[in-house]
Amino acid sequence: MISHPHHWLDQFIWLTSGLFLLCSFGLIAAAQVLGCLRVYVMQSALLTISVLLLAARYASTDLLAVAGIDIAAKIILIPWLLRRTARRAMIQRRELQLIISVPMSLLIALALTILAYYITAPLCHGQPQVIRAELPIGFAAVFIAIYTITIRREALPQMLGLLAIENGAFFASIVVAPTFPLIGEVAAAFDVLMVVLTLGVLSRRIHHISGSTEVGLLAELQED
């Protein structure tokens, strides 16, 4: 096996990875819409820090630009757009319902994390330390976010789950493909904004019509 030299920044990259994964668990446990949004912003911030650390490690200006896009899109624009399009649903101070209880969900999330390590093991074989640290965590974040969407009943937490998938995907990729063309990053950021805009408007209309954004309760269209 090839031995890769340690870099003094690696310690911080591992730390950010751990905190990033913690945010995925936080997205399951958050009890209010605003809490979900805060966890999402925190996760985006950790993604950005991780990008910055990698930019320093690889002396890559591309990654600096990616960090800039992340800050602009995920930390500034998205929370702002969400607060604008879905203000009423956002400030409601009531407990969100989960289809599966939080402790059980956290256990399942743990299992998903192990699954992510299992799936990525063949990919990580013989790769540098940073890749072995970040790649499985990115996959785990994707799996946990998908799981979060399935157990949430309301529109906004589901949407934040979607955005968290994208975060996880990019967390996995920045380390393996730090030269990923900027156009891809721009495309993804553009897409994320469009998702927030479209789904935000949609959830507002649902709220306007039915008085709640509990999309999980809408069951008029079942095939009988």
């Binding site: 393996v176 949609l202 269209l221």
Partner: protein
Amino acid sequence: MPMSMPIWIIWLAPLLALGVAAVSHNVRVSGTAACAGALISFAMAGVLVFHVCHASAITAIPHWVGVNAFGSVVVLIETFGGFTAALFAMGALSRHSSDAHAQRQFWIWFNLFLLALFAIPLLQEIALVWLALTLTTLFSVFLVSFDGDPAAFEAGWKYALMTTLGAAVAVLGILMLYWALATTGSTDFSWSGLIAAAPRLPPTILNLAFLLILIGFGAKAALIPFHAWLPDAYSRAPFPICAMLSILESAAIPYVLLQLAGIANLTPHSTANDWMLLFGLVSAGGAALLIIQTHEYKRLFAYSTIENAGIILTAGAAATLHAREAAIWQILAHGVTKPLIFFAAGTIFLLTQRLRLADIRGLLSRTRWGGATFMAAGLAIAGAPPFAIFLSELAVLKSTIESPRPWIGAVLALFMIISFCAITYHLFRMVLGEPAAVDARAQRALTLPKLCTAAIIIAAIPVIVLGWYIPGPIIHGIHTAGQMLGGSMP
């Protein structure tokens, strides 16, 4: 005129129509602009197919914008569907109760959707192809929930959530694909760049990337078991939108998946075909069973779209030249037939205001032309001769039976027979027999908007013609595309 000119015009025409829809307050003007825009795009797509005959691929901006033989066939289907759907929508909207503002919005979203849809086969950079595919969802959400009632928004939400979820999984796959490419030292993330680097791509990464993209785009194409959004979205979306969604799911997405599988097959130890075969067969079989038990004719044809997407992927996975050609042929035949059946079903809805199969009996005795057209279109989609799908399904069966895995052909034949019987069973019950107790609403005007009739007549032309004769350039295009998917460079 430079060879790449038609590519730009295909985009420019709906863009101009979008401008008209955004500025004009007259819905008829917006509708006419959308029809004209899509018609121009269709003409240019025809020119593209003709050009590709001679040049095998046309490049507008190297590595970014261009079209290959497969793409030119796909864009031809998309533009034809776009044109007829615009025509039908214009007619149907005149009977729709919605206000002018909602109708204006409809044309804005419709043109945006066409722009994204046409972009899929015309873009070469993979990240942008992914973006175009994702945007088709976001631009069609408000078309799906056009009716504006809670059920329509529920359908729109499910559709948006499930397909965006798919897109997010696909992005992970796309990024893994880029990683695989980067390990070879290349950064040319276009179809041709991937084909050039293919023999050196690491198989473990590539296999995972393909699986993630297949699952992600499979959710968007409503492949089973990711089809939960589909019954709701189709039963709420306007009929011309159903036609366009069908083209997206059974032409544009299989195009991307087959191209990717073609690249994966150039590497040793590729599992791409096995996964595609699994999803293809499960979708074709599952959809055939869903067709039997459905209660709405709109959903019936939605399930038939899944079945066809399954057949296409299965044929592509059989991995012989003839099977790949048959897959592309199936894309073409189904892509021109689906709009026709949704328009015919749309007229049935305009006349009866009913969606449930059980509510519709004896169409033929109430409206002779409407019933006969619906019958013919239904037989065409079921795969009866002398229509286009009959020939293409025959080609799929023949080529898969001759492939190294002949059991694929046998299983597919079984699924095709099940769905044929199920569709014709529902069809005969709707068209023949005594009409159900006629209520006051159904008694109302049994006339159709002229534009709807025109859309049906135009949409019927290729369905009939392709059942007898396939124009030379299209045969050539299908052949070149089949070869290219097999790895020979254009």
